[in-house]
């Protein structure tokens, strides 16, 4: 285990270095820079040159790269180019919002998707295709709805017509109830998009297990259907489901970008979009490193859970 962790850690350093370098150079190969993005419509070329100088964009590339690496190693992420605010502060403040949305979405999705998927599998296994088709059909429709569209429809229904949730407003952890009301719609929208995939994977996995010999044996031993389902079928179907949960957590970090825009959530997706649009190299570079680290942590956690679920998995 310790050996495994050390090896993973070495890999991690290498991966992060690769990501950092790649991001640094790709960002700068995109035409346009922070100065021209910021100045927009009404600036002359001469004034733009002044602005570029002021933003430090005229320094040679290699010296910018070395300064960046030095910053990373010393945990000094610098200030954003456009706002001159400390990048690390901005990210640390935005992170809890995005993470809480992602975690709640996973919880809600898992709570809904696993029973639904299992039910569909059970029905399919028994040859009762009506309910199975209804569930898989609905999942497919939900899967195909783009999240920006779902978000607007949900806003119209739950915010404007029913008045259950606000469309905008301050995000603060001071009042948990207000906080939950504020992030309810983003969580619902993201859950809808994740639900479909997870329910389908659950259905396939459980259905496969249900036709295994050991399930038949369990049934033959006279165990109740429930016990067969939970003790044998679901437990053995858990591996692909855990994989999908891990993957969808990653997807969610991307998915929040759109819902954060529509629901005006000040999360890291918002920072990323803004950073890219304004060519704020400093912000995007740091965020990408952060994303990379998060993915590595998620993968690591998935590995650990694999091992807990299935003793045959060896590190």
């Amino acid at each position: 285990m310790v050996d495994y962790s050390l090896k993973k850690f070495a890999q991690l350093i290498f991966t992060v270095f690769g990501v950092v370098t790649l991001v640094f150079f790709t960002l700068r190969f995109i035409p346009g820079d922070a100065a021209s993005a910021m100045a927009g419509d009404t600036i002359s070329g001469e004034a733009l040159e002044l602005l570029r100088e002021q933003m430090g964009l005229n320094a040679p590339l290699w010296s910018q790269y070395l300064a960046y690496l030095h910053g990373l190693v010393t945990f000094d992420f610098g200030v954003t180019i456009t706002t001159q605010l400390p990048v690390a502060d901005l990210i640390l403040r935005a992170m809890p919002v995005t993470l809480s949305i992602a975690v709640l979405t996973i919880v809600l999705t898992v709570t809904l998707a696993i029973p639904l998927g299992t039910l569909a599998a059970l029905m399919a296994h028994r040859g009762q295709n009506g309910l199975d088709n209804a569930i898989t059909g609905t999942a497919m429709v939900l899967d195909l709805m783009p999240s920006f569209w779902t978000a607007l429809v949900f806003l119209l229904i739950f915010s404007l017509t029913l008045g259950w949730f606000p469309a905008s407003g301050t995000i603060s952890f001071d009042s948990p109830v207000d906080y939950l009301k504020r992030i309810a719609l983003p969580v619902l929208v993201l859950s809808v998009t994740q639900l479909a995939t997870m329910a389908r994977i659950t259905r396939t996995a459980v259905l496969e297990v249900l036709s295994e010999d050991y399930v038949r044996t369990a049934r033959a031993m006279g165990w109740s259907e429930m016990r067969v389902l939970f003790r044998h079928a679901l437990k053995n179907a858990a591996l692909p489901i855990v994989t999908v949960i891990g993957l969808s957590f990653g997807n969610l970090l991307n998915g929040t970008v759109i819902v954060e825009f529509i629901f005006t959530i000040p999360g890291i997706g918002n920072l990323l979009i803004n950073g890219i649009n304004s060519r704020d190299y400093q912000m995007v570079q740091t965020l990408i490193v952060f994303y990379a680290l998060l993915f590595i942590v998620i993968n690591f956690a998935t590995d650990i859970i694999y091992r807990a679920l299935d003793p045959r998995v060896k590190f």
């Binding site: 993005a37 002359s44 733009l48 915010s159 905008s168 407003g169 005006t264």
Partner: protein, 511 residues
């Protein structure tokens, strides 16, 4: 003994908790206005401020020597109570006495004015607005309430240069020294509101400056909430989460809000959208081709079809409300036959094609689709060259295009006339992207600047407009209207010709 049920108990608790809030709302002393803000703020240092949403915050924090009347766009006194000049070269400004800076930084004097201008002019500040003040050769304060400015050449539009906008905004020398030059997030001015709190990712809170020289503003707190999506902003207003929407710019939302009875505060002709024709591109070097393009596109029809509230066809490169605007200029009514004849005359009877630079973010706009269609009817093929926004800005600044669009939000006519028509400002260095150079026009513009008599200056400007609209290096398309829809209880919202609202005039009525 009477007992509270649990429900009664919590109801009475809630009622007690509500009492002080109601009392405050009734006395009207704690008025708060919730305003939609549409992008992440980028800071409020006059030396490097950009984009109208940031400028609007700065407009309410700072003052200039002069300012603009929201309704008419005319220059009005601000920190300067009066001014005089005999030759448009030497300007004497008499300052108001007893004007106080925010956050206890004391009285504003001539020294602060000189400091603010010198800060912009200092190359170390690297302000893109330094060129606006480049003509200043002498800056003096004979006493604490007088500022004398001498220019290297006459400039009849100098009062625009020192208005409450960009380089004209006055900072406190002491505050800037205390803040070690970090003005961007610590703006301190003499305006009606000061910055109390900011979270660049979600909100900006302005508080009333109690010592404002015109007296305290009616509303105590301005709470700007960042809502980027237009549909969300519309729903937030309908839900009552905000009271006022800064710049609603989608036709369908405007119609929904109007039908729902909201107050549609607006200003007409903010910024003109121009087609820049690169005169070095072969077909555009022929004036007949430029005229043909003008005759080929029916902007009246386009505006009415797409966004009748938001756009209006416009005949000139200057907006109608400018005092120097002249109606007596060559015009190009929709006339496809005339366009075809002009093209044939110029040797393009069999057609011609060019590319139009645009952003992939915007794609091919509905208006551009109409333009393409109108042009194809006279045998001109316009294709869109779509690139990402920073590349677009870079190429447009460098003059690397055949045709491009420019939005001209300007209140100072020189911002349009000098920047776009003077050969000194040709791209890549300047904004003259057509690379237009007509010595007669240049001479007229310079002469008009030194003319002290406004009628005589008007004649010179009129002649320049006539020549330019005949040469047609820029094709005026349409002008934009800016809307700030709000609740009917919110009064006094009048966006000025820079698209900004002066919140000193805004109030919330009892209803």
């Amino acid at each position: 003994m009477p007992m509270f049920t649990r429900r009664q108990f919590s109801a009475s608790l809630a009622a007690t908790a509500l009492l002080p809030v109601l009392a405050n709302a009734q006395s009207g002393e704690q008025k708060t206005l919730n305003i939609r803000f549409y992008d992440d703020p980028a800071g409020f240092d006059p030396a490097n401020i950009f984009r109208v949403e940031n400028e609007n915050i700065a407009f309410n924090i700072y003052s200039g020597l002069t300012s603009y009347d929201s309704q008419t766009g005319e220059i009005v006194p601000d920190l300067a109570a009066s001014w005089e000049t005999e030759d448009n070269v030497t300007w004497v400004f008499r300052l108001r006495e007893g004007v106080m800076f925010q956050k206890g930084y004391g009285e504003m004097t001539a020294d602060d004015v000189i400091f603010s201008f010198e800060r912009i002019m200092d190359p170390a500040t690297a302000s893109p607005y330094a060129s606006q003040l480049a003509g200043i050769v002498r800056l003096e304060a004979p006493d604490p309430y007088t500022v004398v400015i001498e220019l290297d050449a006459p400039n009849g539009n100098f009062l625009h240069t020192v208005a409450n906008y960009h380089q004209g905004q006055i900072l406190s020398r002491r505050a800037v020294a205390d803040l070690d030059g970090q003005v961007r997030w610590n703006p301190i001015g003499t305006g009606p509101y000061y910055l109390e709190h900011i979270d660049v990712n979600s909100e900006i809170v302005l508080k009333r400056h109690e010592d404002y020289f015109r007296g305290p503003a009616p509303i105590e707190t301005l709470h700007f909430r960042i809502i980027k999506d237009e549909s969300t902003a519309t729903i937030a207003l309908r839900n009552g989460e905000v009271d006022l929407v800064m710049r609603s710019n989608r036709e369908e939302n405007l119609q929904t809000l109007q039908a729902a009875g909201f107050r549609m505060n607006m200003v007409e002709s903010y910024g003109i959208v121009l087609k820049v024709m690169n005169l070095e591109f072969e077909p555009f070097s022929d004036k007949r081709v430029r005229h043909a393009i003008a005759h080929a596109i029916d902007y009246d029809a386009i505006c009415n079809a797409i966004a009748p509230s938001l756009t209006e066809a416009t005949p000139s490169i200057l907006p109608r409300w400018m005092p120097i605007f002249s109606e007596d200029i060559p015009k190009y009514p929709y006339d496809p036959d005339r366009a075809r004849a002009l093209l044939a005359e110029a040797g393009y009877g069999s057609g011609l094609s060019f590319s139009h630079l645009g952003t992939s973010a915007q794609g091919v706009t509905e208006i551009q689709q109409f333009e393409i269609d109108f042009l194809s009817q006279v045998g001109i093929s316009m294709t869109m060259d779509l690139v990402d926004t920073p590349t677009f800005n870079q190429r447009r600044n460098a003059g690397e295009f055949e045709m491009a669009t420019r939005l001209l939000p300007a209140i100072n006519p020189d911002m349009i006339l000098f920047n776009y028509l003077h050969p000194d400002n040709m791209s890549p260095g300047g904004l003259n992207g057509a690379r237009y150079d007509n010595p007669e026009v240049t001479e007229l513009l310079v002469a008009a600047r030194s003319e002290v008599d406004s009628d005589a200056a008007f004649k010179l400007y009129e002649r320049a407009q006539q020549i330019v609209m005949d040469d047609l290096p820029y094709l005026p398309g349409y002008s934009n209207n800016v809307f700030w829809p709000g609740k009917t209880s919110v009064t006094g919202v009048q966006p000025n010709y820079l698209g900004q609202v002066n919140f000193f005039q805004v109030d919330i009525s009892a209803s």
